[in-house]
């Protein structure tokens, strides 16, 4: 027995030594908040990485929904692969409900924006402990962390803007970072409170941000100009007819009772109950503040806005940085090139093409325009072919064959344009090469031309046509390459506010096409029914020996080529789960 006891003791010892090991002796791969915002991190390396995450949550509009631009749900384009089961088609035709789109599908950005707001709040609440030594280049004695913090505040304000342009007033959560036990069943704030919050944030941070021109290594960071540009846009929206004196509740109720519980009854949630003309002045002044910075200018070459970096390009005020590449071409380019893969997801409409004036600046429908129906693309605003591929335009060293049976419209098997046009905007300079050239693919969010148009619109609405307003339009048209003519770049000089409004709206349409502006513009201007209800058009070019026939056609299959724009579509539905689980949350009218 004694012998055995020794063995037993030995075995017990071995077992117990192994067994007494503590849990979690293995290093964890994850980091805790103290390591992300580290009081010893004078470089702020981890904090900066966290800020990068906040930046990365900004929405990139390139082929965002079903590989389409959001603009394919407007009168400017249609989805090439339109199908009633595709979210983008559903947006375009209003055949969706509050629970059709899960998070991230369709245009449901609710959770993406609130996730961004949360990340920004985590950063804002924790960055103070990090002793960042670097200082701001424009304010030499101030630590960079204050600029960083304000960048996060800008991004947060921008996320809110993304929400209110879709939903109207949404819950404002301030600096709060919610935990699992917290009450997140919040009511919606009024539209005015949201606008004031965004404007207030922009005002508060504008002077403690980097300023343009940025050092090349800082390109992409939020600047003072970006804060002012956001303020200008949010005030422009606030002044627009959809929100400024809203009638949405009555209109939407007449059209559709909706299926959701607790529909908004307080008009202040979806806009301002009382219209106020002075809001246009605030918008014009805010746009003018950006102009007054004199830090930005129009890029002399229209396509280069999206391709060039500063200092040669001073038009971009804020962009989401995206890796260089050829994704735009791969997703949108004309098909049929064996060596250059593409899909042509978005098909621009004839209606967009017709919106571009002649090179003289004169509307093609005008009697004196010189427009020739048998060569419809000749002598047009250069932006036409920079935005849309038309027949015989040179691409990849080849005149494009956008006629029936041509290389890019083979009429067999593969997805091809349904309108006779492919989208060209944002693409690199691949006209004279055999393969796509890699290029800057940043998603431009604010640029100077928009500021000029914002100003022109707001000023015209506030005080009517003035040389000041026209001057802004001239600048945009001059850069586009429209001939000066008698100095008016083809524009009619009028004292009629409404006529000039139409001119400004058309200019915005063609200048900002595919930049996720049109979708919201036709809503805030309340012109969506007139623009969305008619058939959308395309072209069918038939080429036979020595003869080319151009037929204008209605596009899209029967079921969804025509749309009934009901007033509830002015705003999007609050996602169903948000409403159903939260008695405080009111649904938008008509949903």
């Amino acid at each position: 027995m004694m012998k055995n006891y020794k063995i037993i003791i030995f075995l017990s010892a071995v077992t117990l030594i192994t067994a007494c090991k503590k849990y979690n002796t293995f290093p964890l791969s994850q980091q805790t908040v103290d390591r992300v915002f580290d009081a010893r991190d004078s470089l702020g390396a981890n904090a900066n990485k966290f800020l990068l995450t906040v930046y990365s949550q900004v929405i990139n509009g390139q082929n965002r929904i079903d590989n389409n631009y959001l603009d394919a749900a407007t009168d400017d384009a249609v989805p090439t692969a339109a199908a009633i089961s595709e979210p983008l088609t559903q947006i375009a035709t209003g055949t969706y409900t509050s629970f059709t789109f899960g998070f991230g599908s369709g245009d449901n950005v609710w959770s993406a924006c609130y996730a961004g707001i949360r990340s920004a709040n985590v950063f804002i609440n924790n960055i103070d402990v990090v002793p960042v030594q670097a200082t701001m280049p424009n304010i030499p004695n101030l630590s960079m962390k204050y600029a960083w913090k304000n960048e996060a505040r800008f991004l947060r304000a921008y996320f809110y803007f993304q929400l209110i342009e879709r939903y109207g007033g949404v819950p404002l959560i301030g600096d709060k970072v919610f935990n699992v036990g917290d009450n997140v069943k919040l009511p919606r704030n009024t539209f005015e409170q949201c606008v004031n919050y965004i404007v207030g944030e922009c005002d508060a941070i504008k002077d403690t941000l980097l300023t343009a021109p940025l050092a090349t290594s800082n390109y992409g960071r939020v600047t003072k100009g970006a804060a002012l540009a956001l303020k200008a846009r949010v005030l422009l929206y606030a002044a627009s007819p959809l929100f400024n004196g809203t009638t949405l509740i009555t209109e939407a109720k007449a059209g559709n009772t909706g299926i959701g519980p607790r529909v908004v009854t307080d008009p202040n949630i979806v806009g301002y109950q009382v219209a106020d003309q002075n809001r246009w002045k605030l918008a014009a002044d805010a746009a003018n503040d950006v102009i007054a910075l004199k830090a930005y200018s129009l890029n002399p070459v229209f396509p280069d806005i999206f391709l060039d970096y500063p200092p040669s390009n001073n038009e971009v005020i804020f962009a989401k940085i995206v890796d260089a590449g050829t994704n735009v071409e791969n997703k949108n380019g004309p098909i049929g090139f064996p060596a250059a893969n593409s899909n042509g997801y978005t098909s621009p409409t004839q209606d967009l093409v017709d919106a571009f004036p002649m090179l003289s600046g004169i509307d093609i429908h005008a009697a004196n325009s010189g427009f020739k129906p048998d060569s419809p693309y000749a002598h047009r605003d250069p932006r036409l072919q920079q935005t849309v591929f038309v027949n015989e335009q040179v691409w990849l060293n080849t005149p494009l064959q956008l006629f029936q049976g041509g290389q890019s419209i083979p009429n067999s098997g593969v997805p091809q344009t349904v309108t006779g046009y492919y989208s060209h905007k944002f693409m690199g300079e691949s006209e004279r090469v055999n393969n796509y050239v890699s290029h800057n693919e940043d998603w431009t969010i604010f640029r100077y031309a928009e500021i000029l148009l914002n100003y022109a619109e707001a000023k015209n609405e506030f005080s009517g046509p003035s040389p000041d307003v026209y001057q802004k339009l001239f600048e945009v048209r001059k850069r586009a390459g429209i001939s000066q003519g008698n100095g008016t770049y083809g524009l009619t000089i009028t004292a009629d506010k409404a006529v000039l409004r139409g001119i400004i709206q058309n200019e915005r349409r063609i200048e900002m096409a595919f930049e996720e502006q049109r979708f919201f513009d036709i809503r805030r201007w309340k012109i969506a029914p007139t623009q969305m209800n008619p058939y959308k058009h395309g072209v069918q070019i038939v080429k036979s020996v020595g003869e080319t026939t151009i037929n204008y056609i209605n596009v899209l299959p029967d079921v969804y080529k025509q749309n009934t724009f009901t007033p509830n579509q002015y705003l999007q539905p609050i996602p169903y789960n948000e409403v159903i689980g939260n008695l405080q949350m009111q649904q938008n009218p008509g949903w």
Partner: protein, 1074 residues
């Protein structure tokens, strides 16, 4: 002379439930009927079906003191002293066997014993303690390894179906090396955590995948523990039930060699049939015509398809037939050696298994690359027991396994063949006239991929190379010097498993670029007849071999326990105290640790009143320190009524009547997702950068919210059991009724997305799982023929009681009160007729849509419901006669004329069967025996979608010939064909309905074993046992959805039905003992 052997099938409650297979065996001697003078010395051999039985007792009937024990070769010699002329052979775990001595037969007697799980004194190890069947209180079922050894399948899981009550298995795939069934004990209870039972092989925790690598030849017993009383000792890991495998060990005696070799032929249980080119093309035209489009094929095309006059322009290729073999082969060989003496006992075994795959061989012999499926496995085990001295026993077990699993590199061939858009009967010729491969060139195969045979020939393989090592070192110290019946055991087990994925491939993965495939056009001039796949010049590449993922786990398990077992008069006490720790490391993950203290106290009075108390206090490092350790108690009670005199008098036919009851709480620690979900973590997130020539940084982002309070799921298990034996133990039954309430289940609460971050799991779900299971068995003989029957049944139905789900869009989709995995869908009414559609159209044209408000504010609804999107003047055109009409409205929503999600209701059952049955029939006559196991599963639902059934997704199938046309409207068995079937209301993908859902059942002749054990006197020198047998697996299947779907009934969640088809195996083997 003839000996009738008893055989048995029957489980009892706690100890061992053993034979499900009914066996019947008859042994007969081939000796000439020469007469011998009666001699009072008899001699012979005692065997069971797998060989000799050393250590069996042989005694003279009526004179039990005249007994002997069989020697190391299973032989005995006994001088008869009494008058009965009958000897009896007996061995624990077997039915005692009588043998009538006659004048012509008194030497070289073969007595073949039959295993018997009704033996009340048989001992099984359940939860570290040896327990007798009669005194156990838990719900335990067991099976002997010898009963399943000859089932011709590579893995042990597949042999359990229909044999063990309470177990549900689903075999989803027949792929060699990956064909193991998933199995569950008493169904499923957990919404989000794993429902996999705890699997312990010689105290080492295994995964499903590891279990399938075990060679059945090494297995001594398999037990499943089902109730709280038996699983509480595993505490935090016991809630899903426990499956325990013990391996064979040596017994004292001369070395016993056992050699088994077998070879089998496999063929698919079901072969899909696809239509030929002519039929397919006709249906394509029919679909286009239905859509109002021009037909794709003209009459000349159809003629060419039909008469085969243009085999390249109009191919007619039966891909299934050309790609797959009708038969494949498998082989299995095992050798084991066991024996020992009073100091050393050993069991050593080795095995080799090989299984071939079902595709033909297309690869270029020059490449030496085998792209077919195959599975090979070599395994070795050495189990040693050493008696170090009088009181100390040491144990050393070593196991290794090497396995190779091969599969084609590029795709799943069955899936490719099912898919209309990759391959169909007219998409390409099998091979071009000059021997080159073709590519799929029909208008319906837009990718123009090379044909499947080209891909198989050039696609290389993916290969999984597995290595398992297990070592177990143990010591048992007898502490009877302290008090009688006390022992102390140490055990340390190490297990490592590595799975290294190895692939061959060409350098690039673009099939079109690397595979040389050509389109052959005989109409072009010679020299220009072959054209390459458009736009993709072929570039010559060579195979490269590259490694993929390396998956490995290390598992260390330490146990110290002390057992106590002592009888004081009528009182018998048992006790156990166990300290157990386990650490599992896999790859770069943090280890997973559990540690616990368990105990058990048992008392019985005259084996009549039984009381067991079990408890575990254990913890898992998946939870924070405050919520780490849980206490899991259980109590078991038993009352053996048949030991009471009044009962014996009243019911003399009962040999056993025992009631059992157990109740307790067991846990489950399998939190889904992050290993440390109680800690808030920050992870690498999206990449972002600044600058005009950016350097991209990986951002840091907040992980899902932590739940510091997260803790284990609990399962409150209640079990009521009845064990009876009747009619001299010929009829027996064990029946258990159970009700398990799983609560504190891991669920993700539904919180507003204003939270802005992922929601953690919280303990808030609740599921009830209740049912019954059991086994009834009977055995007897008619003259010299023995027969037996065993019936195994299991029923387990779960109901979700509580689940804080994200609010479903509609009340009718609420899963509370329904089983886990319930399907929702529409109710099919009938096919739309043209009259329906005209009526609906008229209504819509009048009112704008198919409902309107009348003057009184009432909604008036078109009686013809139409799908959402079709309820407008334009939309209605998308609807056609022959489409499926569904029921509008349900108990939650009134009919509104529109078919949308609000009209769905729960249809059918979940996919996992809630009822499984097994019927085991056996017969034996002399040396012959035959057994048949029928196994069935009932009450589950199958819905197949996409490439499994939908036209233009799937290749055309015979059912498509029965599609609706105006002429066949009355007898249609399939909706109107459409070129955009998946976009119509008929599609099971977008409109799941009871039209597509089949409430399924199947019954299989799961296994057969027919064998002949040669009489000893025929055996040559040194061979002491020989058996020749024929066995089969999945031999015949009856199911109720073959008229709709062409899949094996166990397709499970694989709703496209494109898995490797389950195999039927017919096998012949020889077993030799020497």
């Amino acid at each position: 002379m003839v000996i009738i052997n008893e055989y048995s099938t029957k489980s009892t409650n706690k100890v061992v439930m053993r034979k499900l297979i009914l066996f019947f065996q008859i042994i007969f001697t081939l000796l000439p009927a020469a007469l011998y003078a009666q001699d009072n010395v008899v001699s012979g051999t005692v065997k069971d079906i797998s060989g000799i039985l050393p250590g069996a007792t042989v005694f003279e009937k009526g004179l039990p003191s005249n007994a002997t024990i069989t020697n190391g070769e299973g032989r005995f010699r006994l001088t008869l002293k009494g008058q009965s002329n009958v000897i009896v052979a007996r061995f624990i775990g077997y039915t005692p066997q009588e043998y009538h001595i006659t004048a012509d037969k008194h030497a070289n007697i073969d007595i073949i014993l039959r295993g018997n799980n009704q033996d009340l004194n048989e001992v099984t190890i359940v939860g570290f303690t040896p327990q007798k069947r009669i005194t156990s209180t838990g719900a335990v079922s067991s099976i002997q390894g010898s009963e399943i050894r000859t089932v011709p399948t590579a893995n042990v899981q597949n042999t359990l179906a229909g044999r063990l009550p309470g177990i549900t298995t689903v075999q989803v795939s027949g792929q060699p090396g990956k064909d193991a069934s998933d199995f569950f004990i008493r169904g499923q209870s957990s919404l989000n955590a794993s429902n996999q039972p705890l699997i312990l092989v010689d105290d080492i925790e295994y995964t499903y995948d590891q279990l399938q690598q075990i060679n059945v030849n090494e297995i001594e017993t398999i037990s499943i523990l089902k109730d709280a009383s038996s699983t509480a000792i595993y505490g935090i890991k016991g809630a899903n039930g426990v499956l325990i495998v013990t391996t064979r060990r040596g017994k004292a005696g001369a070395p016993k060699f056992n050699f088994r070799i077998e070879g089998g032929e496999q063929s698919p249980t079901k072969t899909p049939k696809f239509l030929d080119s002519y039929q397919s093309a006709t249906l394509v035209n029919q679909a286009y015509t239905n859509d109002g489009l021009d037909p794709v094929f003209n009459q000349a095309d159809l003629d060419a398809f039909k008469n085969g006059s243009d085999p390249y322009g109009h191919p007619n290729t039966d891909w299934y037939d050309l790609i797959f073999r009708k038969h494949t082969y498998q082989a299995n060989a095992n050798l084991d050696i066991s024996g020992g003496n009073s100091r050393v006992k050993y069991f050593i075994s080795g095995g080799a298994f090989n299984q071939n795959g079902n595709t033909n061989n297309f690869n270029d012999p020059q490449d030496l690359v085998n792209t077919n499926y195959y599975f090979t496995r070599y395994d070795f085990r050495s189990n040693l027991d050493l008696k170090a001295n009088k009181t100390l026993t040491l144990r050393l077990d070593v196991t290794t396994r090497f396995a190779d699993i091969n599969a084609p590199g590029f795709n799943n061939p069955i899936g490719t063949i099912y898919s209309f858009q990759t391959e169909n009967s007219f998409s390409a010729p099998f091979i071009n006239p000059n021997g080159t491969y073709a590519y799929n060139n029909s208008v319906f195969t837009p990718t123009h991929a090379p044909t499947l045979n080209a891909q198989l020939a050039n696609g290389g393989y993916t290969h999984s190379r597995r290595t398992d090592y297990n070592v177990l070192v143990g010591a048992v110290q007898d502490l009877s010097s302290i008090t009688d019946g006390l022992t102390l055991t140490f055990r340390t087990a190490f297990a490592s498993e590595e799975d290294y994925q190895l692939n061959t491939s060409f350098l690039t993965d673009n099939l079109k670029n690397v595979f040389p495939s050509y389109y052959f056009n005989p109409k072009k001039p010679v020299g220009a007849q072959y054209s390459r796949n458009p736009g993709s010049p072929f570039t010559y590449s060579t195979y490269i071999l590259f490694g993929g993922t390396d998956l490995y786990t290390n598992n260390t398990n330490i146990q110290i326990f002390s057992n106590y077992d002592r009888t004081f008069g009528d009182n018998h006490f048992t006790g156990l105290l166990l300290l157990n720790q386990q650490e599992i490391n896999s790859q770069a993950d943090a280890p997973s640790n559990t540690r616990g203290l368990s105990g058990k106290i048992g008392w019985d009075y005259k084996q009549k009143i039984l009381v067991d108390a079990n408890a575990a206090y254990n913890g898992s490092d998946r939870f924070s320190a405050a919520h780490r350790n849980g206490f899991f108690p259980a109590i078991g009670l038993g009352y053996v009524l048949s030991k009471e005199d009044f009962f014996k008098k009243a019911f003399p036919t009962f040999d056993l009547f025992k009631l059992r009851f157990s109740y307790g709480v067991v846990g489950s620690d399998g939190v889904p997702g992050s290993h440390y979900s109680y800690q808030q973590t920050y992870n690498g997130g999206s990449k972002y950068s600044f600058g005009t020539s950016p350097t991209t940084y990986t951002g840091l982002s907040e992980g899902s919210l932590a739940n510091p309070d997260i803790t284990w799921e609990r399962d409150r298990k209640m079990d009521l059991g009845l064990d009876i034996n009747l009619f001299k133990n010929t009829l027996s039954a064990t029946i258990d009724v159970f009700r398990d309430i799983r609560y504190d289940e891991f669920v993700q609460p539904s919180l507003s997305n204003i939270l802005g971050v992922g929601v953690p799991y919280i303990n808030a779900g609740k599921v009830k799982d209740q049912g019954f299971d059991g086994i009834i068995s009977y055995h007897n003989n008619i003259g010299k023929v023995q027969y037996s029957a065993g019936f195994v049944f299991s029923y387990a139905k779960n109901t979700i009681l509580q689940e804080p789900l994200p609010q479903p869009g509609f009340k009718n989709l609420n899963p509370i009160g329904l089983p886990i995995g319930q399907t929702f869908g529409y109710k099919f009414i009938r096919y739309y007729t043209q009259a329906d559609i005209d009526a609906a159209k008229a209504f819509i044209n009048e009112h704008g849509k198919n409902s309107y408000l009348d003057g009184n504010g009432h909604t008036v609804v078109d009686p013809i419901p139409v799908p959402a999107g079709a309820n407008s003047g334009i939309g209605i055109n998308s609807l056609h006669a022959g489409d499926l009409m569904y029921k509008d409205g349900n108990e939650y929503y009134a009919a509104d004329g529109v078919i949308d999600k609000s009209d769905q209701v729960h249809i059918g059952y979940p996919n996992l069967p809630n009822t499984t049955l097994g019927l085991n029939l056996g017969v034996a006559y002399k040396g012959f025996s035959a057994s048949f196991l029928f196994q069935g599963a009932f009450n589950y639902s199958v819905i197949i979608k996409g490439t499994g059934i939908e036209p233009f997704q799937s290749q055309f199938q015979p059912i498509d010939l029965k599609a609706w046309t105006p002429a066949t409207a009355a007898t249609a068995q399939f909706p109107r064909l459409s070129s955009n079937f998946i976009g119509t209301v008929n599609s099971p993908t977008n409109y799941p309905s009871d039209y597509w859902l089949v409430n399924a059942y199947y019954i299989r002749l799961k296994t057969i074993d027919i064998g002949w054990q040669l009489p000893s006197n025929l055996l040559p020198f040194h061979v002491n046992n020989a058996r020749i047998y024929l066995s089969a697996y999945n031999l015949v299947t009856w199911d109720n959805f073959s008229n709709k779907y062409q899949q094996d009934p166990e397709v499970s969640s694989n709703s496209a039905g494109d898995q490797y088809i389950n195999e039927r195996v017919v096998n012949v083997g020889v077993q030799l003992g020497f």
